[in-house]
Subunit: 413 residues, 2 copies
Amino acid sequence: MKAEIIAVGSELLTPDSSDTNSLYLTRQLNETGCEVHLKTIVGDDQKEIEGILRQALERSDLILFSGGLGPTMDDRTRVAVAAALGRPLAPDPKILENLRRKFASRGFRMSPNNEQQAEVIRGAEILDNRLGTAPGMWIEEGNRYIVLLPGPPRELKSILEDHVLPRIRKLTRDKHLETRSFYITGMTESELDSQLAPIYSAYPRIATTILAGTRHISVRLYRWTQEGSNSDDLDELAARIQDKIGLAIFSTKDESMEEVVGRMLQESKNTIAVAESCTAGMLGMHITRVPGSSEYFMGGIQCYSDTAKIELCGVPADLILAHGAVSAEVAEALARGVREALHASIGLSITGIAGPGGGSKEKPVGLVYIGISDGMHTESRHRIMPGDRESVRERSTYLALSWLRRFLMRDDP
Amino acid sequence: MKAEIIAVGSELLTPDSSDTNSLYLTRQLNETGCEVHLKTIVGDDQKEIEGILRQALERSDLILFSGGLGPTMDDRTRVAVAAALGRPLAPDPKILENLRRKFASRGFRMSPNNEQQAEVIRGAEILDNRLGTAPGMWIEEGNRYIVLLPGPPRELKSILEDHVLPRIRKLTRDKHLETRSFYITGMTESELDSQLAPIYSAYPRIATTILAGTRHISVRLYRWTQEGSNSDDLDELAARIQDKIGLAIFSTKDESMEEVVGRMLQESKNTIAVAESCTAGMLGMHITRVPGSSEYFMGGIQCYSDTAKIELCGVPADLILAHGAVSAEVAEALARGVREALHASIGLSITGIAGPGGGSKEKPVGLVYIGISDGMHTESRHRIMPGDRESVRERSTYLALSWLRRFLMRDDP
């Protein structure tokens, strides 16, 4: 069943406010087997709301409105939906009575503008709102279903769960969304797509999305499944992707790189210390986002100045003079030095030029060296990171975590 | 000018993801005098995108697309817009050459699917993307304007600011939104509102919003102004707010606390070092987000373990035994110690219980001590922060910066 969500409210079109109801609605709809293919956010404008509903009726089976059912002059959803459907609105005496009772029980007298909340579109089923005043509505229009929900999240949720989901489940009964996910580092979005497109394009029933972030790339496979049908093709495609890009996949659940690396450190009984020059703490901050990371994170040194590199991380001053602070030699010395200073089994270092200033022809902005040392082996790598200062620092942090993961994999039996 | 925003991407229709670009776009558009009257979120589906654009052309003067310009098979915005406008798409040799150069400079070979990023809609002006690969486009269609922007926020922002806003300003010229902003720390949202409401409610023509974030509270005043009209009442309200809450305002521009504090450190010729226990690098990371921060940030120690506190920050082991690592005494010793270890004029420390584990009745999760020392004076404060692990760490970081600001203000003549 194809669903769309229409959020009504001029406040949702300001720079400071966003429609969060639709995330909750989407989750609930997906679980009942409805796919949300469109979301619209429209102001408190009757003509605009009418226009959107007319278009929605041509493209969606199920149309959910949130908001615009309150008592004030700018609550226009009821009037607009009635107009678009060409149905009259009339006050419902039972709702009116209910409203009066709710106000009285809280010691208020109901003001006349509250009466519009008792207006019902002809043919609509009324959905009782036990947490507020404006009831919801369920309307059948030909083979389309239109649902009106109030905007306050608690009221919207209670009406959806009490009255709307049971009705939708009856309509969709045995259909739901199956997904598989892969989280990938160490390759670009287009490299990845050129490797995967020949594979996933052979499965037209499965929707594949590739999304690149600063931290990693995620690949998601989606397919609607009917009760009783099997998910063999989804498992088959997932296995072929796993075969193709194996090592680059660091997780198949919604799990961060720092969680994956944390688990590997713990399982291999390693501890880690970090020396951070251009990132100045970002790597340590990420590692310790994981609760319990004190079991393997010993600490670090934010060696922003040369003095800190020399005095706290034990980098020989000569080495900095000879090669510069941004060099393979210094990255390796930092990894060795911080490992010892913090009594860790592994030292991990980042030194680079985050920009915007400080670059040269030989050492451009974005050049970053990452060093790693376990006492036996010390090595380093470098990359030129694209983007602005913050992006260079984020990418460096994630690359360091990604190489730490590879380093720990080698120890695997 | 009536604007609408169309965000493209199937991932934006999942329960876990929302379109945040449109908030930024709305703010920028409002400031140039455009009203955003509708937002749509549509999946990577060519026919759907075409349909939405056709409707948009009937109702809006300016139509902004974000997303769907990347190199993968599911990036459909270019193709859909070309189809809806009935204009051909053709590769632009200059963009193609640029793309090849960008890839080469990072040591990658460009894969063929990247070539679709060089395809241009006939008649479009190309908007250079200096932070990524997919360029934007500016298209005039009758008296409508269509803008294509890439989805990654940094790229979208740079293209909007470099190329789109100047074009829109030419079109809207004599109507614009005037704003005044205040960024505030050290009081709660309701405290603030109870002080300000009696003031701003006397100015009904000015819209006032108060928005509380983890970092600070912002107060914004908005008013539409025609060329030639004056902004006396806006200035008057701004002055009354300034009088009322003076010291709590750390900035009146869109400037971060770390920029404000950085400027104060530089002006007072101070340098700073940080000792971070529960934040493990977050404070240093924030301070160094400001380009040029190496002039006053000497570095720091991520003293996650007691050993690091003792050996690297010079905290007496007895002090930790007597008072615990999360205590006023240890916070002060950390501030003193890190100041000396990194040869800074000021030491700033954070030690706390970020949770979810580790709390007790006397020292609950969320308890955080912040220490500060300039060699002459050392002091500390504590707070119990609400929220989850990440929220406790962020609030602690911002509180440390906020107290550093107050500390530096005392030195002011």
